[in-house]
């Protein structure tokens, strides 16, 4: 290549790199195909092509490009890492781990190679000790890199060291408050800690997923998870209301105590709701109301609101009105429950967005 050609190739590579950094993978693919057509022996061009193909979701093409780059520059760690990532995307986890090990062998002082190896092992859910060791090595080599801390957190989580995992995720956020995967991971930790009555943890999980979306608007899984956490809250609240309405309807007698008791019982779901909502930012509170009264939960929420109103009316109504009111309240609340998606299925559908 002449000096001018070298310079032009360099410029094209930098442009392609900028496109990849901007997430404009399709444009990068097109530009790199043109470059490779005229200069087919340039390993970085194949590496960038593999990266860009991964960006457009074509793992097979990414693997082919990474293999070509590996053939051209087997001594370099980058092609091996890209091959590992592509194999992981294709579900060949053994191959991904082997390629990651080759990357480590090619450049043992590069934190990215150790992180890649750790990620493969975490995804494969095997060799937890080795994964932890690789992640620790990555952090030792790049202590200011949030993604390394995040991977270490995931490795700790795999071994059941939840406190350590939390500490690593928080460290990643301390280094970059906009690091979305760490927000997402912490939200999952909060969700795991949110038992039935733990409205605070549930609110923290919703806030964490929301922060993950805010940091990276393309984090679709986190966005879906915010909505699902809000649905879980609504489902739990609905269950509590059903329980209270049913208990309230069982209270007999015409004494003042018997009339006030159903109203006092309503304090339980009210406290749960207040605890949850008070821990949310105003925009999430608004979103909760929107989720409750629009879309698939709307019918259930309306039925449950009617049930509460009927319970109150029934409690204060004289004579026959009381039993009719309380009976209708139970019926309405039961309908609300039946209209809701199952809480367990909601929780199981909350997906984990991986780095």
């Amino acid at each position: 290549m002449s000096g001018d050609t070298t310079q032009e190739v360099q410029l094209q590579l930098e442009r392609a790199q900028a496109l990849v950094a901007l997430g404009r993978s399709e444009e990068a693919v097109s530009m790199l195909h043109q470059l490779i057509a005229s200069e087919p022996e340039i390993a970085p061009a194949w590496c960038l092509l593999a990266q860009a193909q991964g960006g457009v979701g074509d793992a097979q093409a990414a693997l082919a490009a990474a293999e070509r780059a590996t053939a051209l520059a087997p001594e370099n760690d980058w092609p091996h890492r890209l091959r590992s990532a592509a194999l992981q995307q294709l579900g060949d986890l053994d191959g991904a781990i082997a390629a990651a090990r080759e990357a480590v062998a090619a450049d043992p002082d590069n934190w990215r190679t150790h992180r890649r190896l750790a990620i493969c092992m975490i995804v494969a859910k095997r060799d937890a000790g080795d994964a932890l060791q690789a992640a620790e090595r990555a952090v030792a080599l790049a202590p200011n890199e949030p993604s390394a801390h995040h991977t270490l957190g995931a490795a700790h989580e795999m071994r059941g060291n939840h406190d350590e995992a939390d500490r690593c995720f928080r460290q990643a956020l301390a280094l970059d408050p906009q690091y979305s995967p760490a927000h997402d991971a912490l939200a999952h930790r909060q969700l795991a800690a949110s038992g039935f009555g733990r409205a605070g943890n549930l609110a923290a999980a919703a806030t964490g997923f929301r922060d993950a979306v805010r940091a990276d608007p393309r984090a679709d899984d986190s966005a879906t998870n915010v909505e699902r956490v809000l649905q879980v809250f609504i489902a739990r609240l609905s269950y509590l209301i059903f329980l209270i309405v049913w208990l309230g309807s069982r209270i007999r007698g015409d004494t003042l105590g018997a009339r006030i008791a159903p109203l006092l019982l309503l304090a339980v779901p009210a406290a749960f709701a207040v605890r949850f909502l008070s821990r949310l930012a105003p925009d999430l509170r608004k979103q909760t109301a929107y989720v409750a009264f629009h879309g698939k939960l709307a019918a259930s929420s309306i039925a449950q609101t009617v049930a509460v109103a009927l319970l109150i009316l029934g409690a204060v109504a004289p004579g026959e009105g009381r039993s009719i009111g309380l009976g209708l309240a139970v019926l309405s609340s039961l309908c609300a429950r039946l209209l809701l998606p199952r809480r367990r299925s909601l929780l199981s559908r909350i997906r984990r967005a991986r780095a």
């Binding site: 410029l11 930098e14 442009r15 950094a21 901007l22 979306v213 940091a215 915010v226 925009d283 999430l284």
Partner: protein
Amino acid sequence: MGSEHLLASLRAAVDAAPDDVELRLHLAELLAEAGQRQEAVREAAQVLVRDPQNEKALRLVSGDHEKVERSVEQDEVELTAVPERDDDDVLRSLDAQLSDIAPPMFADGPVIVDKDAWDIEAPTLRLADVGGMQEVKARLEAAYLAPLRNPELRELYGMSLHGGLLLYGPPGCGKTFIARALAGELDAHFLPVAGADVLDMWVGQSERNLHEIFEAARRNRPCVVFLDELDALGLKRSQQRNTGARGTINQLLYEMDGVEGDNEGVFVFGATNHPWDVDVALQRPGRFDRTVLVLPPDAPARDAILRYHLRNRPIANIDTGKLVEQTEGYSGADLAHICNTAAERALLDSARSGTARMIEMPDLEAALSEVQSSIGPWLQTAKNVAQYGNEDGRYDELLAYLRKRRVA
């Protein structure tokens, strides 16, 4: 030999001081005398780039140099023997000789004011030329044009025109067209900085490039600097790892603040599909603090776009009203694609049958079933932002649109 030495030293001096017009002109004259006509013309052209009215350089380039130099000795007979060239001849000759060095002196199409660095277009469009989009026009009027046209009211209500205007919305929905029309409303030149130019700022000397853009705008004021794909230029800090974007953003802020140059009459518009990726520093007051959402074309706009793309094609019995109804949520680019697909279908059919036929409704309906709205992925990200990244209410309008379309 001596003259070669002199020329060499003069060349070195010109390289050291490229903007010294007199020095360069002297070099050009010596080169012409030495018979190195081509190089002399090149140097004279460089003089003209810096001083377009320089008469000596004009003569050198037009080939009249020898006559000027010899004029003292020449008798009247020889002078009259050469037909005099009028000014137009000189200019045409210049145009031809300098086409690859200096900017053209006249252009038949849109006026190119600053061809050497950036294409600057004269105002030709008005907002009235934009079909439909009444809501966008109303927002532009409120956010930008009304304060601009009413300086007294602007002062009374304490509104400033300092800062830029950011147009955002899904891809292919006419942000650039609207920016051009807005420049027309301001009677301002239009200096578009396209996505590819923006990208080159990552790999080239971005600070200098940006400075040159703003200098060109200042020379041609009133002028709108239109930065397309602003997200590429002002990528969020958190996404800037391993990139050289920081310097570019700082330079843009520096130019927008007018620290070095006077920005009176320079309007800065930006456009982006992803306002959420634009660095917050660029969205602070005084920068791109006014945003206008440009949504997919409304019904009148879709009608205008469809008619535009079908206007020079053989069509028959096209019910644009029906097409307009069926293309809610399609971008302008999608509508163009539908028209092209329908034309391809008719063409293929004609080629098969050997008889040319018109493009008809079935062609467009078939195209419509093939071409889906391209803004789906954008809507998903926009939904995430409008629902969970809207704490200051800046995406309220977007959220209302998404809810109306039942996306959020």
